[in-house]
Symmetry: C2
Subunit: 437 residues, 2 copies
């Protein structure tokens, strides 16, 4: 049988990796897929670079629309990224009867519902394993491996850049800005690192996982996002003193009131495996009612890890493109007419434990005032640390860990605490996640 013909849009890091992996492992992939998979067209704005990578193996063009319309292309791999041209290209590919494989989490988190609807209309597949956690087969695991379960929650380290920064801050005792600069030098952070360090990229990925886990449409605009740029060395060491590590987590959880969908730094017990995931690696914990806690670990980015996921999708499409659509796994795990309208909870309704740090005047009665406010607002204290003031200082840090508390109550208490004359700083609040099995 002739190989299936793939048009590649964008041959940068991941595109180059995809081309290389397909070429190198061609024989083994064909032995699995039962049919060859060949990239026959490549579109890239840098035509010379594209030619230098693909040689004579594929037609190179600067016009991506030529590829998505070309009759001799069966699958379009979109690796351009972003939400404008990429969206047009994916929709044009689908309109032209091509299956789509993509790593574009940004586009799917924002417009995935529309793209999947367009695909369904034409009985086409959209593969997006590469959009979440790079080479870790987390989409397949959630969508097919855990179908028996009512998923309770997902908690993941799903942004390698921010995990690298947090690991380095803890390891080397450096500040956020220094480590960010190092990450940029190493190519782990982009010149504009906002999406990575402010949790936006993680929220894209979390939105996709949440939809699959709970059978709801993707609702990125309702995700709560808080980044790591405000984290200090001080909080990392105090957390350590209590037996915790600070990680940027994407968390989605089903509660009686609705679905939580939030990205923020969190204290995690140091003994949890996920607390020990270091550097640019990713890991996703999934709690199902039958299976309990499972975890998936691997490289969340990079040329070949991400290519691994792109090619896995290509194999799936190759196997299933002539199959009746009813035999295919639905994009969001649940049959498209079976999505629920469970609401996404606003962050004010979310209940979490918290770490609080504040600087206060070291005099009698201050702690009593603080604990009275907490008690008034129904915030219950789980642990506390107050060190002796340094010599010649009349200020001390108070660190509190709270029991699970509704965000709104926590914020009300913090507002009142910050209004106390003896409280000299803003209250630093970092959520705490026990991630119990």
């Amino acid at each position: 049988m002739e190989p299936i013909r793939v048009g590649l849009l964008g041959i940068g890091t991941v595109g180059g990796g995809t081309f290389r992996v397909l070429a190198r492992n061609q024989e083994e992939i064909t032995r699995r897929a039962g049919r060859g998979i060949r990239i026959t067209m490549v579109a890239d704005t840098d035509v010379a670079r594209a030619r230098s990578i693909v040689g004579d193996a594929a037609v190179v063009t600067s016009d991506a629309f030529e590829v998505v319309r070309h009759p001799a292309i069966d699958i379009v791999v979109e690796l351009i990224g972003g939400t404008s041209v990429a969206k047009e290209l994916q929709l044009a590919a689908l309109a032209n009867g091509k299956h789509v494989v993509t790593a574009n989490k940004h586009l799917l988190a924002k417009h995935g519902n529309e793209i999947f609807a367009a695909a369904r209309e034409r009985d086409l597949m959209v593969g997006f394993e590469a959009a979440v956690a790079g080479g870790i087969p987390i989409i397949k695991s959630l969508r097919e491996g855990l179908t028996a379960n009512r998923i309770e929650w997902i908690a993941g380290i799903i942004n390698g850049t921010s995990n690298f920064i947090l690991s380095e801050m803890r390891d080397k005792g450096l500040g956020f800005s220094e480590v960010l600069a190092e990450a940029q030098r190493l190519g782990y952070a982009e010149a504009d690192p906002t999406f990575d360090i402010e949790g936006v990229d993680a929220a894209h990925k979390l939105t996709i996982m949440s939809a699959i886990a709970f059978g709801v449409p993707m609702q990125f605009e309702r995700a709560y996002t808080e980044g790591i740029s405000q984290l200090t060395q001080l909080d990392i060491s105090y957390a350590e003193a209590f037996g915790y590590r600070i990680k940027l987590l994407g968390i989605t959880r089903r509660t009686a009131a609705g679905i939580e969908l939030r990205v923020h730094p969190a204290l995690v017990p140091a003994k949890r495996l996920i607390a020990n995931v270091e550097g640019v690696m990713n890991a996703v914990m999934v709690k199902g009612d039958a299976v309990g806690v499972t975890m998936y670990y691997g490289a969340g980015a990079g040329a070949e890890p991400t290519a691994s996921a792109v090619v896995a999708d290509l194999v799936d499409v190759t196997r299933m493109h002539t199959a009746d659509p009813e035999h295919r796994v639905p994009h969001l795990a649940f049959q498209p007419d079976q999505l629920a309208d469970t609401p996404i909870l606003p962050i004010s309704e979310v209940v979490t434990a918290n770490y609080l740090r504040m600087r206060v005047v070291d005099r009698p009665g201050v702690l009593a005032d603080i604990t009275r406010i907490l008690s008034d607002e129904q915030v219950s204290i789980d642990a506390m640390l107050q060190k002796e003031p340094e010599e010649g200082q009349d200020q001390v840090d108070i660190i509190l860990l709270t029991h699970p508390t509704k965000e709104a109550a926590m914020q009300a208490a913090i507002g009142r605490i910050e209004a106390l004359a003896a409280v000299l700083s803003k209250v630093t609040k970092i959520r705490l996640e026990a991630l119990r099995a």
Copy 2:
């Protein structure tokens, strides 16, 4: 559409879990599968127990053959275990046109090639996610999630009983027999624990993973198996002193000479995530050439975790049973006519680093004799520990870590060392696996 009809053979721990999970999550599973899945017949030797579990929901019989022949059954779930009746039943189910789902690793490791051939002849599916690592979707991840990769190696903690025993020995400083007795009290070890503690169960699971990873037939009879019953507290603490933990690992690796297929205790760097997998939990590391190292973690046994895998297979079969066989994923990931005849290496040809412990007379020249023998046999030393003798003693322990060495050379050296008059004990040898990314 009418639900698909499942006949359940054996309603013990996992069978009961499967029945419960399917009943409890019926609505959610149906929303995913697009069709209901119902257990309509149950066979168990204990008919009364079976009735008490299923009530009026299913027909109960003591004759499993009645189920595999029954025209109103679409899928047979075999949870009886063992290799005699279970084999007859699976083959009879296939002969009668039923798809099969099973957790029976023992049967598949020994007779899987025959069973898959029988299934192929009738265009039927055999699902066995539950046979390896319980609820962890490792079969799906290997078979579909990592199809882009040339798999280099797999290393897994795939027997919960032995991992529980090793965790307890380390945590509590107890001996093997004491902890085994405790595991038996807790129901984590069977009355006859041989399969678990001697690595046989792990070798069954490893055989299945190896076939999928490397595209070879299952060859359980060529697996090397060494258990944990000889491990002592002393070795656990010496390993710790070097920065290692001891785990029972199943390892399969592709080398230029052939495939390694071996289960044995191994020292693993304490900083590796897998070294921190404790108690009855399982974890499987997979190294692919594109994706790098990935790891999959979760409960490797138990009623509902295993049921999670059984039901995931039921959903797959429900989705695919009317599809053309070419659309289905091959049992061993590779197309059946594409299996390779790569040989399984005998253990004598396997190259690993090693931990060696020996008790020697504390006198000049002993260490020189030992190191000379090692050097003669081309065994190179990576690290060494010799403590001062305890007061009044003239014996000391020598601990050596070797660089990677061919097993045959290692054995030759050990034979010569044990023949030295100053060496008072057998040499304890435990392999060491760096498990580097």
